[in-house]
């Protein structure tokens, strides 16, 4: 019987073991922290913390290796899926995941992630879409919405000259090697719960050797969006979700019967 510290009290929620006991450098209200926590909770629940190797990317999540209580490497900009491939091919019984932002994965690293998915590489990609380049100060990303103002699209993204946003979960779902490609959002408790379930599924796909899995997480960037954290959640819901619908874009039918 688990009654925690108090005789008649149980712990409903506590910080996962797979997170380091350190402060993050993320801005107040940034949902990177939520995404980190969810991944850590999944690693705890699956009891794989001590056989997991993460691959950090370049961008705000460059220091992810300081925050996860697992082995970690740090990849050049966009190359995390290639690095993860090298690790997974050498240590196929380990859990290998990349944690990448939208500039990293959907712009400079699109080649690496598409090729990894097409190979059915047995890795999990956690993809954070916050519609801009966070670390360099809010420039236009491949995910920036049409009309969205950023420091490099000061008049709003003009699709005539700056093109259209990249819908990564849909795009990667078209590849045969992809077993699981879904989009979730981190803007309210219900969606956070759904995001966690998707992350668990993605890691279970890998644990079962079913090939490439990716969870795209719609995320906020209050600082660069110039909003309070609460305003940014609202903007995500109202502006981003219509363009980036939450949904399952590819789910390997073999997952249907699985319970975890």
């Amino acid at each position: 019987m688990d009654t925690a510290q108090h005789e008649l009290e149980q712990v409903v929620y506590q910080r996962p073991e797979s997170l380091m006991e350190v402060d993050t450098h993320y801005c107040p209200g940034c949902t990177h922290g939520v995404a980190h926590r969810l991944v850590a909770e999944v690693l705890d629940e699956m009891q794989v913390r001590q056989r997991t190797i993460g691959v950090a990317s370049v961008g705000c999540s460059v220091f992810a290796y300081n925050y996860f209580n697992t082995d970690f490497v740090q990849a050049p900009h966009g190359r995390a899926p290639a690095m993860a491939t090298g690790i997974k091919r050498c240590l196929p019984d380990r859990i290998v995941f990349t944690y990448q932002g939208d500039g990293d994965m959907a712009s400079i690293g699109m080649g690496e992630v598409v090729a990894a998915a097409a190979r059915g590489e047995n890795i999990t990609v956690v993809f954070i879409n916050n519609a801009n380049y966070g670390m360099t100060g809010g420039q236009m990303a491949p995910t920036t919405l049409p009309g969205q103002k950023t420091t490099s699209s000061p008049n709003g993204r003009d699709v005539e000259t700056q093109g259209f946003p990249m819908q990564a979960a849909e795009l990667l779902a078209t590849l045969e090697g992809t077993s699981y490609s879904v989009r979730r959002s981190l803007h309210d408790p219900k969606n956070v719960r759904m995001a966690k379930k998707a992350l668990r599924t993605a890691f279970e796909v890998q644990a079962r050797g079913m090939g490439f899995s990716i969870v795209e997480l719609l995320s906020v960037c209050p600082t660069n969006w110039g909003m309070t954290p609460l305003q940014s959640l609202k903007w995500l819901e109202e502006a981003m979700i219509p363009f980036y619908p939450i949904g399952d874009y590819k789910v390997n039918p073999a997952l249907a019967g699985l319970r975890f």
């Binding site: 005789e7 008649l8 009290e9 149980q10 910080r15 801005c27 107040p28 954290p229 609460l230």
Partner: protein, 81 residues
Amino acid sequence: MPPKGRIEVNENRCKGCELCTDACPQDVISMAAERLNTKGYHPAELIEAGCTGCGICAIVCPEAAITVYREVSQRAASAEA
């Protein structure tokens, strides 16, 4: 009677983003207006009775700074034991 709960906020980890105060269904979390943590933020705190230990504040907290407890009813506890 709704279950009783409480939260513990790791105050120095809190960045004062207020996501928990907004998400709390009981409206029993607020930012401590009269004190600052080591980062210079007003940390979140439980301000009154009514917490049910639902855990929603912890679910939205980007800093994983909240631990949530819920009382186990006498009957449930003895049944479990």
